[in-house]
Amino acid sequence: MPMNTADARIPVTVLTGFLGAGKTTLLNRILTEQHGQRIAVIENEFGEIGIDQALVINAEEEIFAMNNGCLCCTVRGDLIRILGNLMKRRAKFDRIVVETTGLANPGPVAQTFFMDDEMKDNLRLDGIVTVVDCKHIADHLDLNDECRAQVAFADTLLLNKTDLVDAAAVEGLESRLRAMNGLARMQRTAMAQADLRDVLDLGGFDLQRALDLNPAFLEPEYPFEWAGWYVLPAGESTLVLEDGPDPAMRLILLSVSEHDALAVSKETAIRLFSAPVIEARPGDQLKPDVGCYRLRLSQPGSKRFPLQLPRTAHIALFTEHHPDEFTLRVLDPHGQPMQPLFARAYNPGHTHDDAVSSVGIVEERPVNIHKLNLWLSELLREQGADIFRMKGVLHLADNANRFVFQGVHMLFDGQADRPWREDEPRQSQMIFIGRHLNRVDLTTGFQACLD
């Protein structure tokens, strides 16, 4: 990978969006408005735009596999030809916009910029912009894989036609899209009147910005829905659960120090939730810090689980489901209900109906690039089809420069970026967007790559 910091490659913006979302309107604006950039447009074959002064080329979508039979290595053959021709006239424009057909999965388009050497050497995928029709997208998301992929691939989601739906509906849609893609900027528009700077100059990956937009981004998928911090007296306290929606629930009890925060113990809880479970039937004794219990709750009526403590202890309780679903109560040795000192609910991964989600990881310790390469290669070999996009800014040991990389399905590409600034924390930020992502596996896998 080259270590030059100035990237002379031509930036490419990919414009996607379901049929009728407003891509053509946006493209018209990009072509006609004064934004100081000369743009070459490759539009899909049904495009109807013809602007004399702009370089517009029609493409007939043609997808093929670069390597025998590997669907993740599919590229757009027509784009390779057209972009190859455009690169010979690179003095005539500053940027390329590629419009895809409404029904297209953006995967092959994005992969084209990673898979083909000529493309990789000369072009840089600057961003994928997905135009969303607020009025109809909910139906499309339910029924259509391509539509979900378009949302998952996006760097920017333009929520268009907001004038046709009420504000509450837009709010709901926004949080649904956010759960699927924690990285994308969102911009609400009507008639595709988006700020073109947000469309054309996406530049580098900035997880901090994503975090500012969505503070829960790094924790959207805990294996538990709720945690409470109790101070329990010596003696036998009891957990009591009533009938609930599930025949079993996983639960963890951790002793925590007074100075500890829930934020620290939750890391332990995440690990324990992926460990083998200890089956517990009503009446079985529970103990803190032994592992992840699976409470059997199929018998009707109140189910009681005693908890013996030799002395007063701070106990953090992590539950797979929200305690209200089972009317969970914690009783002290006198049978009096205890209130947690502190409690919070977590975004559970398992309630997403879209199956597409984001996992973000932040680590302070420097990354070992060789270990990371090995890990990513293995990860992508096994799950490449499900990982739509991957982006990262890495803090490498003994390196004054940031290392940035991005990937699409099984392909990834990285290079040294600008030097770290004095005033910014040297930390690695990674994000995965895909189907059936396992936060715990990804996090522990990444942590194993740290020096």
Partner: protein, 344 residues
């Protein structure tokens, strides 16, 4: 006082500029004319002996893609992004009515060396035309866009390549061509017949070469490349196949048939991606030009190559074309430079 030094082996005979990066170069078979197409469209024909401009024009709207000559050097054809192929009469200088070859890019145009016949390739469609522009036949053999056309050197067979297939068409009868499919799974990007007509070799997007013997249609495969093989050229004896993937130039020895189980000769790396390479048709010179503007000419004898000359061109190379008879190399640059180099 005269310095006693060896004469430079290369001399520029003439040069001129075309509007834009050179997209294609073609010598007329009699060696009299050089046709030049610029990527944005402009088209020029120059006198090979003097570099004098014989004719020029704006070419195809959106860009010219290909130029080709008829076997008797009388007709020049071009094709482009406007869905047309055009034919000029070099005797009268007049243009024939454009051929409506497709609604997409007309990526290929080629005169049959055996009959008065023009073939165009646009998208998935192959069309045959008479020289006066009458459509003779229209076929859609490929399921994806046709990437290259190549005539067999001795028979009226035309190879066409696309994603996953090469086809061979026997144009002995232009209204009822015979077909032979040479299947392959990988996307093929170019087609090159050995001058003896025994081998067809195609570069693929999968960083390898795919070949067939003819007439057995037995397939063979050459790998070991790290990038796709953009440039291929056969020497006149059909023994050597020069190839370039990225910066690396390698030569395969077909002296004992397809070089299965043998490594190619490595000519080493250029400074940047090789844009074109060409063997001199009647001799033993191999020219290579890269994207950064470095050119090298090797002299080739039966044993090993000897680098005769290396030079540079500002702006980088796009295309190279040897004069059919003389030791004269036409080059087309990325900055629009067109020049003819005499090789002593």
């Amino acid at each position: 006082m005269r310095m006693n030094r060896q004469a430079e082996p290369v001399r520029i005979r003439w040069r001129f500029e075309i509007a834009d990066s050179v997209q294609d170069l073609a010598w007329s078979p009699d060696g009299r004319w050089l046709a030049v197409a610029a990527v944005s469209g402009p088209l020029a024909v120059v006198d090979g002996a003097t570099g004098d401009l014989r004719q020029d024009g704006p070419g195809h709207a959106g860009g010219t893609l290909k130029v080709a000559w008829s076997r008797d050097s009388r007709w020049l054809a071009s094709s482009g992004q406007d869905g047309c192929a055009r034919i000029w009469d070099m005797v009268s200088g007049e243009e024939r009515a454009p051929l409506a070859a497709g609604n997409a890019w007309v990526s290929g145009v080629s005169f049959s060396p055996y009959a008065d016949l023009v073939i165009t390739a646009a998208g998935k469609a192959l069309r045959a035309w008479s020289l006066d522009g009458q459509p003779l036949h229209h076929i859609q053999p490929h399921t994806s866009t046709i990437t290259d056309l190549a005539w067999h050197p001795q028979q009226p067979l035309l190879a066409s390549t696309a994603n996953g297939q090469a086809h061979l068409w026997d144009w002995g009868n232009p209204t009822a061509p015979g077909e032979c499919v040479l299947s392959h799974a990988s996307p093929l990007i170019n087609a090159h017949w050995a001058p003896n007509g025994r081998y067809l070799v195609c570069g693929g997007h999968d960083n390898s070469l795919h070949g067939w013997t003819w007439p057995e249609a037995q397939d063979f495969h050459m790998g070991g490349y790290t990038r796709k093989v953009n440039a291929l050229a056969w020497d006149r004896t059909s023994r050597w196949l020069a190839t370039a993937d990225g910066e690396r130039v390698a030569l395969w020895d077909f002296g004992k048939g397809p070089p299965i189980g043998h490594l190619p000769h490595d000519l080493g790396g250029m400074l940047d991606t090789v844009r074109d390479l060409a063997f001199q048709p009647g001799g033993s010179l191999l020219a290579v030009g890269d994207r950064s503007g470095v050119a090298a000419i090797w002299q080739w004898n039966a044993r090993r190559p000897r680098q005769l000359w290396a030079g540079a061109l500002r702006g980088g190379f796009e295309r190279l074309a040897w004069h059919p008879q003389e030791r004269l190399l036409a080059i087309g640059g990325a900055d629009g430079t067109v020049a003819a180099f005499e090789i002593r």
